[in-house]
């Protein structure tokens, strides 16, 4: 679900670029961004699907309280994309329903 017209980046933003791999595709973003900010700026609004109905969700609060931004980041599931700063070469994958109850986490 992509729509490039929902957000835009102001020219004042940092110009240091960092490249993420999102679902296997390169996404260029700015140093200092959270993963969630990077995705929204790139027009990607869906971060996960819910474990119960499989409905798509976008980041809702961006401050670490709603958990709708849970993603698999560098292979670790259930990371809050809004609280995770980007790093060059980071791999990011949408979290599909069941991953939310993975063995890894309690």
């Amino acid at each position: 679900m992509e729509n490039d017209s929902r957000f835009r980046r102001l020219p004042q933003a940092s110009d240091q670029t960092v490249t993420l791999s999102v679902e296997g595709r390169p996404v260029a973003t700015r140093a200092g961004d959270s993963v969630a900010a990077a995705l929204l700026a790139a027009g990607i609004i869906t971060t996960r699907t819910t474990p119960v109905s499989g409905a798509p969700r976008s980041p809702f609060c961006l401050m670490g309280v709603c958990f709708d931004c849970l993603m698999e980041i560098d292979g670790v599931p259930n990371r809050q994309a809004c609280m995770t700063p980007v790093r060059d070469g980071m791999t990011v994958a949408l979290q599909h329903g069941a991953a939310a109850v993975s063995e890894e986490t309690k």
Partner: protein, 470 residues
């Protein structure tokens, strides 16, 4: 994630949260000679209002209130005697001041503090209405966070809906930066204006605050941003791509709708009580603000000796009040640890106390004006209340009919509040729904019993914590 044992550290005072309350508390305590560890989940100091204030690329365009935070953050950043830990989440806190911290890379630290100030601030009040879980529906606060931290802004045509000063502030900040909102659909109940007028005396004391608010609204009007007031019956509908496409609402006896690909919702802020609740501290229902607040003494002291609360986490008072509350709690902590005597504490408390009273004078007016109406906090049956487990208001009501008397029973029956957000997004709504269904005060219905860890933790990380705990 790192393996092995957690590192153990000690300090006089741990300050959790580096918003205005936490920063002011840490600076004041360090000045009195306490060794301070200040912790924040964010990667920079500032909290919500002053998020990224030392580095924001758009700082100059966010208004004078944001600028005020720069001085406070700079003083905090430069102060000696404070160890600043960013990107660090508090996962556990025991009644005797043992704090489990998780750093950015999964490293675990066990911090033993002689006193603790909880300065974890506020979060936006849940705003359940049909469609609030659709992709493309976000909070107004989230748009402000994107602006301050990443210089990312909504495209023109973004629609804002709900109530409260922050809704107008965000709209005006976006306008100033060159974004044209498509509409502001305001939900403040008409009766609130009369209720607020009764508090004119306090309002007069807070004239500067109110004037700022009126100027914001005037700016939006001059810019001809379409504004609707007294809207009810909100619902968001999806387009063909599954994301939000329009907001529908009732106004003036008619159903109306406005198209949008991004909908920002907001109806005020409420204290973040996750930590104080997990410590089983007593909380009171604040009927004016329709939220819970921990029961506090005049220094922000709680029922647990050595544990204090400062700032919006103890009740919404705004950023300037938060700062003063931080200073008062620091004085009390220093007195408790024997750095100053009571006489010295009281003497130094004089100025912050007077400032605090001044900043709080306007609250009864604002609380009455922006108190959410019943339909804004007690949603219809089909509305999803618990976003994590997708539990609807109707399911909660059925639970009550089946004999559930409080939120904890509802939780064990239908899993509302069991998901990763641990009730942050549904707790208030669940208590309100049960209270309305049973025809009793929310205060008697109570809230979820919260358990630690405060955020989901991996087994490897938990093992590190447990190893030192032996």
């Amino acid at each position: 994630m790192t393996d092995g044992m957690a590192r153990v550290e000690t300090c006089d005072l741990a300050v959790i949260g580096t918003g205005p309350a936490g920063m002011a508390a840490a600076v004041a305590a360090a000045e009195l000679g306490l060794s301070v560890v200040a912790v924040d989940e964010q990667s920079v100091p500032g909290g919500q209002i002053y998020r990224n204030v030392l580095a924001s690329p758009v700082a100059a365009r966010l208004g004078p209130d944001y600028g005020h935070g720069a001085a406070l953050a700079a003083a905090f950043d430069a102060a000696e005697g404070i160890s600043r830990r960013y990107g660090t989440t508090v996962w556990t806190l025991s009644a005797d001041g043992e704090i489990g911290l998780r750093g950015e890379r999964g490293d675990i630290v066990l911090l033993r503090a002689k006193a603790v100030i909880l300065a974890t601030g506020a979060l936006e009040r849940p705003m359940p209405f049909p469609g609030w879980t659709l992709p493309g529906v976000m909070t107004a606060g989230s748009a402000q966070i994107l602006l301050k931290s990443a210089a990312v802004v909504p495209a023109d045509g973004v629609v804002l809906t709900g109530s409260g000063p922050l809704l107008y502030l965000v709209a005006a900040q976006l306008l100033d930066i060159g974004v044209r909102p498509g509409a502001i659909v305001e939900t403040t109940p008409g009766a609130n204006y009369r209720a607020a007028a009764r508090h004119w005396r306090g309002a007069a004391h807070g004239a500067a605050t109110l004037l700022k608010g009126l100027k914001l609204i005037a700016r939006l009007r001059v810019a001809r941003v379409p504004m609707v007031s007294g809207a009810t019956g909100l619902s968001a509908e999806a387009g063909a791509d599954g994301a939000v496409a329009r907001l529908k609402y009732h106004c003036g006896g008619r159903e109306r709708s406005v198209a949008c690909s991004l909908l920002l919702v907001h109806q005020g802020v409420v204290p973040n009580v996750q930590i104080s609740r997990s410590l089983d501290l007593p909380h009171d229902w604040d009927a004016a603000q329709r939220c819970w607040r921990p029961r506090l003494g005049e220094w922000g002291d709680t029922a647990l000796p050595g544990i204090f609360v400062a700032g919006d986490g103890g009740g919404i008072g705004g950023a300037l009040a938060a700062e003063e509350q931080g200073r008062l709690a620091a004085l009390a902590a220093a007195c408790r640890l024997g750095r100053i005597d009571e006489q010295e504490r009281n003497r130094r408390a004089d100025a912050p106390r007077r400032a605090l009273a001044h900043h709080l004078a306007v609250r009864p007016f604002l609380d009455a004006l922006y108190r959410p109406g019943d339909d804004a906090v007690v949603p219809a049956d089909e509305v999803v209340v618990c976003r994590c487990e997708e539990v609807t208001a109707g399911e909660i009501r059925r639970c009550v009919v089946d004999g559930c008397v409080g939120p904890n029973q509802v939780k064990s029956f239908i899993r509302s509040g069991m998901g990763p957000c641990q009730g942050r997004m549904c707790g208030l709504t669940v208590s309100e729904i049960i209270a309305a269904a049973r025809g009793m005060p929310v205060a008697d219905v109570g809230y979820y019993r919260l358990r630690q860890p405060l955020k989901p933790i991996t087994l490897g990380e938990l093992a590190q914590l447990e190893e030192v705990a032996q």
